[in-house]
């Protein structure tokens, strides 16, 4: 990995971690979009690993407290976003066009929804430890998480839609790939 690539990756990692650990309204996060963009620019392994790392650190140092049993699900969910970013980077190449913006927005919505379902499964596991059966625990987690999930999906649809294509293009230029 050359120096400019390493520097950019380090800055983005620091940015991602810094924002993730900053106190902010629940579910209004930038980690997904940054991890997705890193996946697109640096590949699935970099995106997935960075996402997993950020959520691992977040699990211990989050302003909301220790994530506990939900942490592995958060790691899996964000890791998946990084991996999909890498795959999309191969086929999508971040084209600066109306389609590119729309595709990123749709992917953002879809991946956020998947992430929320995965973390809700984690919450259900936590509820199961309190004595609920899995179907009840999952229903409770999904229903109680419905409104935060909708806010999360809308937020990430906008973030992915507006920022993915320009940022990916800017990074490609910075790294001399265009």
């Amino acid at each position: 990995m050359d120096t400019s690539k390493l520097a950019l990756l380090s800055v983005l990692t620091a940015l991602c971690l810094g924002i993730q650990l900053t106190a902010r309204p629940m579910n209004l996060e930038f980690t997904s979009v940054i991890v997705f963009i890193i996946g697109m620019v640096f590949g699935s392994i970099a995106g997935g690993s960075l996402g997993a790392l950020v959520m691992f650190v977040n699990g211990f140092l989050s302003p909301y407290g220790f994530a506990g049993v939900v942490m592995p699900f958060q790691i899996a969910g964000i890791g998946l976003i990084g991996v999909v970013g890498g795959l999309y980077g191969k086929v999508g190449n971040g084209r600066l066009s109306a389609e590119g913006f729309a595709e990123a927005a749709v992917l953002g919505a879809f991946l956020t929804f998947v992430y929320d379902v995965v973390t809700n499964v984690g919450t259900a596991v936590f509820l199961m430890l309190s004595g609920l059966s899995f179907p009840h625990a999952l229903a409770a987690a999904l229903v109680s998480g419905a409104v935060p999930s909708i806010i999360h999906v809308v937020w990430n649809t906008a973030l992915f839609g507006f920022f993915t294509v320009p940022l990916v293009n800017a990074m490609h230029k910075m790294l001399g790939w265009r």
Partner: protein, 154 residues
């Protein structure tokens, strides 16, 4: 992947997310509806209908057909009908001295005009003085009570 197929895939993905999110929202709001409905039914059993008459003694009659919490007294029903009530609490209970700015008046040491309350006896079809303080009678469903501003002497 052809452009058409790719567009179709993303449109399908967007519609799937939209369908799932709206389903989730519908389930959430249905849950809220069920919970609110149960609370409403529970509260309904705690409420009773009563009729309260304010008779100002000059021909002005004001009816208040209202819902009060089960277990409310005549005095509490009066406070539900109007907030402009002055009263004193003594050994025998609450004594109302003014309603809506009309105050009790002692014309002589043994006579005057005052607010007194009556209960409608449906069996005898008469307003009945239960001879007790208004905070000592607990209303029953569909009770009718009247507050009258009238002359007294003893």
């Amino acid at each position: 992947m052809s452009v058409r197929r790719r567009t179709f895939m993303f449109v399908a993905m967007g519609l799937t997310v939209w369908a799932l999110v709206t389903t989730l929202a519908a389930v959430y709001y249905y849950g809220l509806y069920v919970e609110t409905r149960a609370t409403f039914e529970e509260l309904k059993s705690l409420a009773i209908n009563t009729n309260l008459l304010l008779d100002y003694g000059n021909g002005t009659l004001n009816w208040h057909n209202q819902t009060v919490i089960a277990g409310s007294t005549v005095f509490e029903a009066l406070l539900t009908a109007t907030k402009k009530v002055e009263y004193k609490t003594g050994a025998y209970g609450v004594f109302v001295s003014s309603i809506n700015g009309i105050s009790n008046v002692a014309e002589t040491p043994t006579s005057g005009r005052a607010w007194l309350w009556y209960w409608w006896n449906a069996t005898s079809s008469k307003w009945t003085d239960l001879i007790r303080a208004s905070d000592a009678y607990i209303l029953k469903p569909d009770d009718c009570v009247a507050w009258r501003y009238e002359s007294y002497s003893y």
